[in-house]
Symmetry: D2
Subunit: 348 residues, 4 copies
């Protein structure tokens, strides 16, 4: 398929929200995928996308998307792959219906993440989990899920430590951007001059999703989540306890050597560097480093010993690119590259 000149038709389900708009923006000029359908709520269905959406991306709306008519979120859809940016309240049933109709659904919603049959994937971390869709309970289609936006950056920084030194305990405090709450999720009256030290269900998601992705039964993880007045970019202050006793340079080397299938296969959305360690005393910072690698690189800094566990450090990931739309597109690219989707895949 790759290089065939024929692009794979893709849809975005729930295309008018914050994450949906990111999908639409990132799919513009994609070398493999062509956006052929968008869906929305009943209020939007039947309108042109340009009229249905309150566009808030800094980049202009892609002209090809502007003219699409918004469908309602029911199958079938004229696409081989459907990226789901649906709200969790409807994602579960809707995604199952699309998959049952033969679509490969790559979902950003939480609904199916913890189903044992549904892969929960970060392409650099657990690409082998993708194979599970060969035995999809939703055949002839399938569902693949993207983790929660704060889990993704964290798990990418943890994976090389787990592989090299044995990860035993993790204590993480997040400082999360408002875009993670969607276009209407955090009013400016609530967030200006303020921090909200609570994000519903977020701590549970980080704890259970990290466990599923790393498949490390010895791991204990504790998360505390905060919403801060930052537009994009989730920061994590992490402490880790390790089985082994590596030196600081060993830890940095583990991060710097880290690479995965997306890099080996040179997938279109894969950053050259999955992880970047910065030596400045005050890095990473959301505004300055969130766009590293087109928003797909996770930035790490401030590695130092932790008096309570072993090491502490700070990670940063772009929550609506790597942590949502970009991460999901990378999953789809990997599925295509592995022959799990596209013309030769079980999903068509």
């Amino acid at each position: 398929m790759i290089g065939s000149g024929e692009k794979i038709p893709v849809a975005v389900l729930g295309a008018t929200g914050a994450v949906g708009q990111r999908f639409v923006a990132l799919l513009a000029n994609h070398p493999w995928f062509a956006l052929t359908a968008v869906t929305g709520s009943e209020r939007s269905a039947g309108k042109k996308y340009a009229d249905a959406v309150r566009w808030t991306q800094v980049s202009s709306m892609p002209p090809a998307a502007a003219d699409l008519t918004v469908g309602n979120s029911e199958p079938p859809v004229a696409a081989t792959i459907a990226f789901s940016a649906l709200d969790a309240s409807v994602a579960g049933e809707t995604e199952s219906a699309f998959a049952a109709a033969g679509t490969l659904v790559v979902s950003n919603a939480k609904s199916h993440r913890m189903s044992p049959d549904v892969p929960l994937v970060v392409p650099e971390v657990n690409p082998e989990h993708l194979e599970r869709i060969r035995h999809s309970p939703h055949a002839p289609g399938a569902i693949i899920t993207n983790p929660n936006c704060s889990t993704i950056g964290l798990v990418m920084a943890l994976k090389p430590l787990d592989d090299a030194f044995g990860l035993e305990r993790v204590s993480v405090v997040t400082l999360q951007a408002v875009s993670g709450a969607g276009l209407t999720g955090a009013s400016s009256y609530e967030m200006l001059d303020n921090v909200v030290p609570f994000i519903p269900e977020e701590e549970e998601k980080i704890e259970r999703e990290t466990a599923k992705i790393l498949a490390n039964e010895a791991l204990t993880l504790s998360a505390q989540c905060n919403r801060v007045p930052v537009l994009d970019g989730h920061l994590c202050c992490v402490s880790v306890g390790l089985r082994d006793s590596p030196g600081e340079s060993d830890v940095k080397n583990a991060w710097e050597r880290f690479s995965g299938e997306p890099q080996e296969r040179s997938l279109p959305t894969a950053p050259a560097q999955a992880l970047e360690y910065r030596e400045e005393a005050d890095a990473p910072q959301p505004r300055r480093h969130r766009d590293s690698g087109g928003g797909m690189t996770v930035t790490i800094g401030r590695l130092r010993p932790c008096p309570v566990l072993d090491y502490k450090f700070v990670t940063l990931s772009h929550n609506t690119i790597r942590g949502a739309a970009g991460g999901a597109i990378l999953i789809a690219e990997l599925a295509v590259a592995k022959g799990l989707a596209g013309s030769e895949s079980p999903c068509v």
Copy 2:
């Protein structure tokens, strides 16, 4: 002295900066203290305070302060007690000089905090340390120090846990307000839409000052500090490991019962409640709760089990009131009430 109708003359050293202004604002109409002198840098010395200061408090400048002539920061000063808001670069020597000249210096600077002879005090936590000034190395005066702004809120929440259940391990991540960096310390170009995950020396201060105040040799503490775009109010996400295994209600009870000499003696600046536990799912929040108890109460919320240590929770304290000027004034009030300062004290 108390009730005599004669107020104790007090000075503010370094009165034009952010903390200095807070001292001046909080001392207006103080029932025991009368502000009789302010000092500043060479650039300010000789001017009227109203002309020397770029006043940034929301409350109006106290008229009595406006007319004071700014002195240079050299002894003697026409005051029994001097509150020091001096920059750390000059505080060490200057405070020693004032103390040697017979003044009781209550300092907000870091310079003398770790000297074994100098008490480092939070009045509700370790009032007994105040007694050390009877053997002051700076006689005929003395120096008492106030901890770092983020340490104060933290140590107040930890003290009752240490007393009741034995505190062994603490992991804390702070989200600190920009006022902690002084009037010029954090440019808006740096802080808008951003978090800076580094505050020079702050983590070390929290770790060593907490240890000195609690005098608990079994305690291990790890701190990670962040500057967030909030005006006032330092938030701490805390995990604790305890010797005993209290239930959640035991922990809340320990906080709610917590009271100290400032409450028993009804000191003017003491809040009725030193600690306040809030049951809302999303409390405490800087803007909504920082002014609790006139900015002198520490607010706690979100107590829940920690998978890595024992419990986790969130604390909030007003960093320029409880964490700086208000905390120092409360120290001075306690010193006066204990007969360590004022007319019968060794300092006059």
Copy 3:
């Protein structure tokens, strides 16, 4: 009535929104009024107020309000006066219905503002318009309206200029706080690091409401409105063209001498000074000056000649106190003081 010891029962219609909460907060401990009823949407009706509201005020919820059961927004209501914080989509009919049922409705909604029979009142500016309710088209009750939040501050600064020098032309650019958009009106994703130079219908409201209040047919007014990332406080940059040619001191004197019935009658919510002129080069500023006079004083600064019209200056008013709930309560107080409401009024 005043001084009788018996408080007048009042209701807040639409009590769960941003302005509704301000009414509830400002009515706590009111010397004349007792909050006896609150209403809300169907979703809230039947719940305790404490359970129905997402309280966002910095002050605690008044205990008396917390226990009220939220009524649906239909008459009758057990109150003599009803403060309306209803959304404009329902305010028109609902307020008419309450008035027809005998209630004096003091409304913050736009629906009835431009009806010739309905007074549109700023108590210091056009108290005489209140008399119109004696011939209320909604008898036995009546409706009085409060202007738009940005109009109030502006018209208070303009009134003394109109009286003394003849106001002919006004060009105003507003910088308005996010609280003016309600709890959900401006997402933080839209407002952080941004200005939105458009507020639906706002410019038209300022132009037509100012004309109705000042009843000056010679006046031409042009408004441009912006939403800025500020919590509370609407700033107006104003240029005026006058019939006469006063000196700068004449203009300042006109402002400083300005006083009205609320001050003469010492109404509970009236600030001692309706207008305050500040001489600092950089005043007024929203965060520093919005709470002047308990949020009821309008602050003015930067008077200087305008090369295009005659003078330019800056005004600031607290948009949810003077510009909404506080302004409406002051109207009700004036109505009571004038015998238009309360026990001897036509409304009971």
Copy 4:
């Protein structure tokens, strides 16, 4: 020279500040200019640029710049053109000295802007003023100045109106970003949840610089300036009085047709479109539109009749790109293209 393959050596004077850093960032990979020298204060002189600067740009520091040794700001400098980002307190004398030593200085400082012999240029607006350097009072070098950051966007929007319809009166209120105040100019404690309705000297600069650039003696202009909590992008709310009475479409056409020598000569930094009119009801917005045309396009929106003058509208320009470093680089490109600088120019 252009196309010769040999780049023109350029310097940045005052390279460590906010505007200096923008110059360094924008000059990376410039097709005509090679950065060969940077200067700074005494504190920085002698250090590597990477060590001397507190880099705050989002893009990485250009490697070629990182290794330059910072010179003190005294001539000579190994460069044909020197971009001055010097502070106004030293710019006057320093720039004269560099020009006297044979350098063409393109300055962003105010010091020489109003000298009759020194051109004050916006390349699309008054390119003919550049010719004045043929009779430079600073020969063998010369000084060309860039207007104040808020003047540039304004004057670009006004020029086509002046040409087509005769501009007579302008009333402008600005909402300016914090980057305009430099790295240390606006503390976050001052700007969070606030607006400062005063920028020293700014209103005077706009009034006199616009008059010099447009050379329209019939023009009366009044400016009011505000600092708002936005990172980059100055917004102007403008009302204009015109000699003629064009329709709205005439005005939009005048803007859309507007083009100048930079576009005709396809200068490297020239945007394809100097002015862009947006039809959305709420455009332009700083965060969404400031980067239009690489930060070199001025965005206009909200054209509508003004009851006081004739028309009102909103303009937006990126203050540190078009309004500072980018604007100055475009001047230098135009000077080179016109043969006024580079190998055949009087400056070498």
